[in-house]
Amino acid sequence: MNLSNQQSTEDVAAGIRKRVFLHTMRNNGGYLSQACSAAESLAFLYNEALTLGEPTLPKVPLPFGGVPSATNPDAFTGAGYHGPFAPEFDRLIISPAHYALVIYSALIQVGRMDEHALDHFNVDGGSVEMIGAEHSPGMEVTTGSLAQGLSMAAGIAWARKRKGEPGKVWVYMSDGEFQEGQTWECLAAMAYHGIDNVRVIVDVNRQQCDGAMSSVLDLGDLAARVASFGVTCRSIDGHDLGAMRAAADSAEPGKPLIILANTSPYQGMEFLKKRFPRLHYVRFKSADERREMQTAIAAELGVDEAEIARA
């Protein structure tokens, strides 16, 4: 059940970029580039691809309920924003937890969270953490240590397949995670065990914390490497929704589907190109720099600058 099929997926993507931009300007910094690269993928997932039930957590995010333990009945995970666990519903595992602001913006845009939920972002004692934790909206497991999400998803998917559940396990991950050995361990395991109810979208933005991946540890022909592990791999333009739909429909029996969404780290905000290759976290060195970026990107996104001041 989609809550928001009254919006086009293009509109959802635009809404994600706008929300992340507004928040970044109002808070003097943020993971802005991730919104540029991820907007279409997340809009596609939440607006079209995922089969999810109604949220089970309140639209206004709850405070942190304490860490999970055998003696803490108040602990919860952000999976509630993806709806209940039931055989027919999909799960979505977000592996790069630093995309949290983009995820929260997507959940708001599709009506799964309150319009003002970002007021809780990075507030002490809250659950809407800067790096998504498993209690943060949309986060189902603990993934901030990169490359563990895919393996957990594989375990979930194997179990669901064993139980005969029709729901799929979707994973959103980043290309930097292919530098971790665990990702390749998991591809081998999924291929060997024929775990074909996994759908992965990878944000191939070729960026990482130190800068361009080509200057840190280039992964060469990633599509060929992934395909050589015996999984289905589709490499597409990550901003082309038609290509994404076709790729998502192209799963093969007995194999997980890995979609490499080749993206631009400044898609929709060309002004960010000036900062290339330091795009991982955008902050401002001076008021002038901030004003210049605000005016330029607001114009690109069609945002009234007065809206930024209405924080």
Partner: protein
């Protein structure tokens, strides 16, 4: 003579798991080394081979546990926490997943040297919130640890013994309860794992010299039977711990913490690896070399009591474990 049980885990796991369809047996290329090869061959539907890829195996197990399966992971102790420590924390421990880590060849029970000897596993695991730590000391505990591990709401790490294992105890593994193997007034001896059998070798010679030994065997290291320890320690002239592990962070450390917190002011000697790595050799050789044996225990007790006990190796090597069973009966009363 003491009964020697051949491959107690193999039979116990098969009986245990086949009665519980939600149990999965996971293995990382050490299937026969962990005595689950027969289970794999006879129950392939409950067996998952994940290869030499422990990082993936631990995270994968976290996902299985989320879906209501109870994965039992089988590999050598050392491979369950050193390479995949981050996965253990983030994919299992933080979320309090019901994943059971069955660690074989703990400490110096393997001739594999540094790469294979888990000598700081208990120390590492004790530092992890939500973790439960169990250690088997004989065949009976190997046979009955599975039910205990399965009853825990959260992750469990268990040190398991394989191959030919002596049966020292006639009662099953009891969670978080110290076993009293003897009662005496002079010293408290606290042992775990294979060191318990070793300490039992010294029981008769010490008794013959009039030394009153109160001997406790520990099979649950976290949580810990604090009250049982305090009760046994009160009034003793000294306490000795003996463990198949470094003295830092394991049994010796946790006993030290409790003695200090209670202000008991009793002298403590911690026997085990004295802040050193070991190397590859036979178990008896390593236990002798690193002071994990009966002889080391006798020396420590002599030092604590200020007595030369004059107990030679020949006397200690005469295994008189048959006396244990009477101590067990006393406990059962």
């Amino acid at each position: 003579m003491v009964e020697i049980v051949n491959r107690p885990y193999a039979k116990a796991f098969e009986t245990f798991a086949t009665a519980r369809p939600d149990i999965l047996c996971l293995s990382a290329d050490l299937t026969s080394s962990c005595e689950v090869d027969g289970f794999r061959d006879r129950h392939p539907d409950q067996f998952l081979s994940l290869g030499m890829a422990e990082q993936n195996m631990l995270s994968f197990a976290g996902g299985l546990a989320m879906q209501g399966f109870r994965p039992f992971l089988h590999t050598f102790s050392v491979f369950l926490y050193r390479r995949p420590y981050d996965q253990l924390i983030n994919s299992i421990a933080y979320s309090n997943r019901q994943v059971r880590l069955m660690g074989f060849l703990p400490g110096i029970t393997t001739p594999g040297g540094i790469t294979h000897q888990a000598i700081e596993d208990i120390s590492v695991m004790r530092a992890i919130p939500n973790m439960t730590i169990l250690e088997c000391g004989d065949a009976t505990e190997v046979e009955t640890v599975l039910e205990v591990a399965d009853s825990i709401d959260g992750p469990v790490y268990a040190r398991v013994l394989r191959g030919e294992v002596p049966r020292l105890f006639s009662t099953p593994f009891e969670f978080n309860k110290l076993r009293t193997l003897s009662e005496g007034d002079d010293v408290l001896v606290v042992t775990s794992g294979v060191c318990t059998e070793e300490a039992l070798r010294a029981a008769e010679p010490l008794k013959a010299r009039g030394i009153g030994v109160h001997h406790l065997h520990v099979s649950t290291l976290k949580p810990f039977d604090r009250e049982g320890l305090i009760k046994a320690a009160r009034g003793k002239k000294g306490v000795v711990t003996l463990e198949n592990h470094t003295i830092n962070g394991g049994l010796g450390s946790l006993v030290a913490e409790i003695l200090a917190e209670e202000g008991l002011g009793i002298k403590l000697r911690r026997l085990g690896l004295q802040d050193t790595f070991a190397h590859g050799a036979s178990k008896p050789y390593l236990m002798k070399k690193y002071g994990l044996d009966a002889s080391a225990l006798v020396s420590a007790i002599g030092q604590l009591l200020g007595k030369d006990l004059d107990i030679g190796d020949a006397e200690l090597e005469a295994v008189r474990i048959d006396t244990v069973h009477s101590a067990q009966k006393a406990e059962a009363l």
